[in-house]
Structures are given as structure tokens and as C-alpha cells.
């Protein structure tokens, strides 16, 4: 069964269409006299989707859907489906999704301007979900590649940094032209840090520990009370 081209085109635009449109019905077995090449062309013609250039009209939906109360769409791309795809396919799909999202956003803005109800607004979320899944798959592949080549994930790590009060905290690493010791900004920021802060740090630590102990004590008292109250109760 030949699927109409317009339907296939829509199926490729970010959201997978319903199964009936995606999968062609089993065709009857063709006669042996038919040349193989022709058979192949028939097969390829079913999947073939040439780029339909519309320039700036790509920011708008099909004319059939203008002013409709609802637009029929399928589900977003799943992670497992995207894992099967090659890098080039994912790269192409990304741009398809990007165009689809732009289209939905423009249509939504126009409907809002005309004070009309936008049909099936969940489309945007569906496209965004498939986009995020695609980004996840790409990140996975990137991580695997880096682990194979260098033994490390290519992501920026974390380091222990000190703030102006001399307290330590964890911060994500960032690229810099100058190392930390030579950066003027860092020096300016931490110029007053020194051993004079140790006294205050000690006091802060003491305060935190006392607070912790207080919480622990309170909890213990409550538990004891509960135990006393439930001493006579027999649990089965």
C-alpha cells in the first residue's frame, strides 16, 4: 500500500505518526518476471522524502491545518529508538525537530494574537521531549567515546573552591585562559583570606556541631517517650 507523501513528510517532522502511516501494509508477492531493479525503486520510493523547500513558509503549518480545532499527531521519539540511529541520522533529525518547534511556536503566537484557541498545544512538549531524548543519546555517545579514548568522561569536573569567608564549597570547573594562581580577579577576590579566619571558622564549626547534638538529643527524648507509651502495647 503506497503511503501518501504528505503523510510521510509529516511523520518525519519530529513527531512519529500513528503506526498505520509508518508501516506499509504487506504487499502481495510480485511476479518473478518483473525486474528486480523496478521492485527496488518501488521500495525506495515508499521511504523517499525529498526536501520540500518552502523557505520562510516553513515557519507555518500546512494550509489544511489552519484554523482546525485539533491536529492529529503521534508520540515523541523514544530513547531506545534514537539509540538505534546513526550519528548522521540524529544530526538530520535534530534540524527537523528544530524546524517543527519553530513552526509550533509561531503558530501558537499567531493564534494567541488572533485570540483563538491553539489546537493540540501538547505538540510543543512532545517535540521538546524527543529533542531532550536526542540530546541524551548524543551525550551518552560522547561520554562513551571519551571513556574509550582518554579513560575520563569529557564532562567538566568539580573542584573545591573557597569563598571570601574562607569557607570551602564544591564548584563546577570552567575553562579559563589564565590559570587560577595568575588570575587578577581571583587574587582580588581572596586577598583578605588568611589564618586570621581560622578562629571564626572554628567557632562556626562548634556552632554547627552543637546544633547537630541538640537535634540528636531531641530525637532521642522523643523516641524514649514513644517507647514508654507503647511499652504495654503488644504487637502481633
Amino acid at each position: 500500500m503506497a503511503v501518501p507523501i504528505c503523510r510521510i513528510l509529516r511523520s518525519c517532522t519530529g513527531i512519529v505518526r500513528t503506526v498505520t502511516t509508518r508501516i506499509a501494509l504487506p504487499r502481495p508477492i510480485q511476479h518473478c518476471t518483473q525486474p528486480i531493479s523496478q521492485n527496488e525503486t518501488l521500495k525506495s520510493r515508499q521511504i523517499h522524502t525529498s526536501c520540500h523547500r518552502k523557505d520562510l513558509m516553513e515557519f507555518f503549518d500546512d494550509k489544511e491545518n489552519w484554523g482546525d480545532s485539533s491536529v492529529k499527531v503521534g508520540r515523541p521519539w523514544k530513547l531506545d529508538e534514537l539509540r538505534l540511529k546513526s550519528n548522521t541520522d540524529l544530526h538530520k533529525l535534530w534540524y527537523v525537530l528544530l524546524k517543527e518547534r519553530n513552526m509550533i511556536m509561531t503558530m501558537e503566537a499567531e493564534y494567541k494574537r488572533q485570540s483563538e484557541l491553539f489546537p493540540s498545544p501538547e505538540r510543543l512538549e512532545k517535540v521538546e521531549e524527543s529533542m531532550e531524548n536526542l540530546l541524551d543519546v548524543v551525550a551518552e555517545r560522547d561520554r562513551a567515546y571519551h571513556l574509550l579514548e582518554t579513560g575520563e568522561t569529557g564532562e567538566p569536573g568539580e573542584r573545591v573552591a573557597t569563598n571570601q569567608l574562607g569557607l570551602h564549597y564544591i564548584r563546577r570547573c570552567k575553562e579559563h585562559y589564565v590559570p587560577l594562581e595568575y588570575s587578577r580577579k581571583f587574587k582580588k577576590y581572596t586577598r583578605f583570606n588568611g589564618p586570621w579566619q581560622d578562629k571564626y571558622k572554628q567557632l562556626l564549626r562548634e556552632k554547627l556541631l552543637l546544633n547537630e547534638r541538640h537535634v540528636y538529643k531531641c530525637r532521642r527524648i522523643v523516641e524514649e517517650r514513644r517507647r514508654k507509651a507503647l511499652a504495654d502495647v503488644k504487637f502481633e
Binding site: K99, M105, A109, D136
Partner: protein, 167 residues
Amino acid sequence: MSSYKLPKFAKYVPLWKRTVPQYPLYWKGNPQLRVFMPLFWMKMVKPEEKVPHGSVRFEVHPQMTKYDIKNYLEKIYQVPVQSVATEMVRGKERKHPTYGFNIQPEDNFKMATVQLAVGHHFEFPELFKAKKTSAEKSTEDFRKAVNESRREMPKIWDRMDLPPWFR
């Protein structure tokens, strides 16, 4: 959605609202930086005032520069661009009806007016040209109801004070 990426106590921010990560630092002599998967979005808006021939207006991601917009249109949409002008627009503010303070201001956004190359032109299409808008439909319904009531008025003028079920 990828749940493991989300922090513990944070509301979900849609992808188009998120900040675009920084470019890697460029050192002289390195190969040119390229974006393989741009996270930017653009949406076309109808300009409120009259605009010159061949100029199109977009609402774009606030981190987009003029060069980004130009490359975006030329590489992805294959539309030749002559020049781009950008402007940050403050979101509208509403005032509380009884107390004077502002409530729920809209987000600020970046507006871009793009001048297409010579010989290219684009007109913003009318989506509801043939079809009736919801406001028109509602006014029609209202008029129909009014006409019907006027038609029935002379028949039941003496029973108007009764509730409609007993007329």
C-alpha cells in the same frame, strides 16, 4: 524526559527557556568553532506597524546575536539575509485593579527585524482568512438568539411574567 538530569528541588524548565551553554574557549590557530546542534529557537511574529518591503520580524532566543540569526536563517532555512537588527523588549506589566502594584509581568524577549536580500519578499499569511474567528462565531450566535426571541415576543407578550416553562 531525562529524570536523572533534574536537580532534587527544582521546577522543570522547558528546553526553549533554558540558557544555552558557553562556547569552548578559542585559541588562535585552532579550527573554527562550529555548532552541530543549535538550541536556539526563532518564531515569526506579525509586525504591528507597517514595515518596508522584504522585512520580516522574529522573536528570538535572548542569547542570539545578529550573526547567529543571520546564520540560522541562511544555513537552516536557506533564506538570504541582508541585515539584522535586534532589540530587547520589556515584557508587559499589569496593574492590580484595586491596589496599584504590578502583578505577573511577562518575560522580556528579544525582537529581531530581518531585511531579506534584494529580490526576496515575504508576506505574513492570514490563517483565518476563509474561516470565521471565535469572536465572529459568538456574535453570530448571539444575534440568532436575539432574533428568535424577537420573533416569539408577539406570541407570548401576555405571559411574559411567567417563568419560561409555563408559557
